[in-house]
């Protein structure tokens, strides 16, 4: 059944979608009233502005370092608590392991709920309800990222080949036994990767939690900028940047070692 003429070209909707997207963006720009010349001027101004930063003022170094350590500890506690919560909820949110479909839905919804609120807003709420300090920051990170980690863990558990769970069911293993002897060993590597990723992310977030009074280095940066102390601000930015780069490289090194 060979044909001798080229069939007519099917309609390609891509140009249509592209023009719709561009029209939408144009509408947004018009509505937000951000003129592109503002952006261009903005970038030009940035040059002048950045030159104000000048040499970082390192005289408060020890207090900055202390704040940075507090930031790291906040991230660490937040990640650990998130890990514990996630590990507890995840098996109920994994299709092969969950005791019944109803619990499955509830666990999934719970994880979604925890994930949905941005951690800074959670921190804001926790700070107003329990007072200033790093504790509300830890809790905000813990709740928010437990949602993420729980979802990752549940997905990892669902990816484990069904045969592994069946083999354990066949010897009469229970819910916990299946988790410990089939799920955990099979998902270990990916899950370590997930935890490292969340820790990276929490360090970044912990660095700004101070803005809402939840401890860490962020408040100091906010104040330095508000009082036009550019030299201190640049010192703070450099410390944050260096820490994050070190943590980033450390976790990618761990990832490499694990593979």
């Amino acid at each position: 059944m060979s044909i001798k003429t080229l069939p007519s070209r099917p309609h390609n909707l891509f140009p249509l979608w592209l023009s719709l997207a561009l029209a939408l963006l144009w509408l947004i720009i018009w509505d937000l009233d951000v003129a592109f010349q503002d952006l261009v001027y903005g970038i030009a101004d940035m040059g002048e502005y950045l030159s104000r930063y000048g040499a970082p003022n390192l005289s408060n170094m020890s207090s900055y370092l202390h704040l940075m350590i507090q930031t790291l500890v906040t991230a660490f506690w937040g990640t650990t608590l998130a890990f514990i919560m996630a590990a507890t909820i995840a098996p109920y949110a994994a299709r092969q392991l969950t005791p019944n479909p109803f619990i499955y839905r509830i666990a999934r919804e719970l994880l979604n709920f925890m994930r949905a609120m941005p951690d800074l807003l959670l921190a804001l709420i926790f700070v107003s309800s329990m007072g200033l300090g790093p504790l509300p920051g830890v809790l905000a990170l813990a709740v928010h990222t437990a949602g993420f980690l729980g979802k990752f863990f549940a997905e990892n558990m669902e990816r484990v080949p069904a045969g592994k769970y069946e083999a354990l069911s066949a010897v009469g293993a229970g819910f916990t036994q299946k988790i410990v002897f089939a799920a955990w060993p099979s998902m270990l590597r990916e899950s370590v990767g997930n935890v490292l990723y969340i820790f990276d992310r929490n360090v970044r977030m912990a660095a700004v939690l101070g803005l809402v009074g939840a401890g860490g280095i962020g408040l100091e940066l906010h104040d330095a900028l508000r009082l036009f102390k550019y030299n201190q601000a640049s010192a703070l930015i450099i410390i944050i940047l260096l820490t994050i780069i070190v943590i980033d490289n450390l976790s990618s090194w761990i990832r490499k070692v694990l593979n």
Binding site: I28, D31, V73, V212, L221
Partner: protein, 271 residues
């Protein structure tokens, strides 16, 4: 009795690495507990205040606030979309330069890689602080901060998805005598599309949350109203704002799940 239980290892003891990976974090947690105010007193003092606060939220919503809320939520969504679109535009070329197999030169590859990791190192909010202090209040500094960090992430994701494109398709193109630029356009980019869409959905999700807090430093969006209501103990509004953010984020989450499954047949896998 106790002594007759053993681990399934040759010597019956738990492997060293397992012991260490439990004990070391535990020790760190204990040593640092005071740094983050983790103590019985603090927590038990916090719980009643927490409950008090929650009780306060059970008030009638402030219906007069609805138009303003809608306007600010719309602004948040608009900032997300505009910043993401700008970032796509900028990160395409950077992502190509930062992909080992597409980069024109190893030095260019290294430089773009490092540039990308530099700009994504700091969180949006820090950039937003800096930009607000440079350009004044409003959505513009927020959009700039958001697109900058997004370029850092998107550029990296694009580079990674180009690097895993099947070498066979690229070879097929090169055998016709086309240039590297053409093989990037006709083999690498089309093959990277599913990965790319996956990253895009992930980034949209992330940016929506980020945009909703940029207002904390005056960089536009709903965040500003959130802090203000919090400062003024305006509980009628706090609940409304939190609920609308929750609804919006969940909506996007569901939409992108549907999109992932329907449009791409489950071939995507990001994070």
């Amino acid at each position: 009795m106790m002594l007759s239980w053993y681990w399934p290892t040759p010597n019956g003891k738990p492997p060293l690495i397992a012991v260490l990976s439990v004990l070391v974090p535990l020790a760190v947690l204990l040593l640092t507990a005071s740094t983050v105010d983790m103590s019985y007193n603090k927590i038990f003092y916090a719980i009643p205040r927490m409950l008090d606060f929650t009780k306060n939220l059970w008030v009638m919503p402030d219906w007069h606030y609805v138009p303003q809320l809608a306007k600010k939520m719309l602004e948040t969504v608009e900032m997300t979309l505009l910043a993401t679109a700008l970032a796509i535009l900028l990160s395409m070329p950077l992502g190509v330069l930062a992909a080992k197999n597409a980069s024109p030169h190893p030095i260019i590859f290294r430089i773009t890689r490092d540039l990308l990791s530099f700009i994504r190192a700091l969180p949006e909010l820090v950039w937003a602080l800096v930009f607000v202090s440079a350009l004044g209040l409003g959505p513009l500094p927020g959009i700039m901060a958001l697109s900058l960090v997004t370029v850092g992430f998107m550029g990296k994701f694009i580079a990674e998805s180009i690097e895993v494109v099947d070498a066979k398709a690229i070879e097929g193109l090169e055998s016709t005598g086309c240039t590297k630029f053409q093989s990037i356009l006709y083999a690498m980019l089309p093959q990277a599309v599913p990965d790319f869409i996956g990253s895009l959905l992930y980034i949209l999700d992330h940016n929506l949350r980020a945009a909703s807090i940029l207002g904390l430093v005056g960089a536009g969006g709903i965040g500003y109203d959130m802090v203000m209501s919090m400062r003024l103990f305006n509980y009628e509004r706090i609940g409304m704002i939190a609920l609308s953010i929750y609804a919006l984020v969940t909506l996007l989450d569901r939409l992108s799940d549907v999109f992932r499954q329907k449009a791409l047949g489950g071939i995507l896998n990001v994070h």
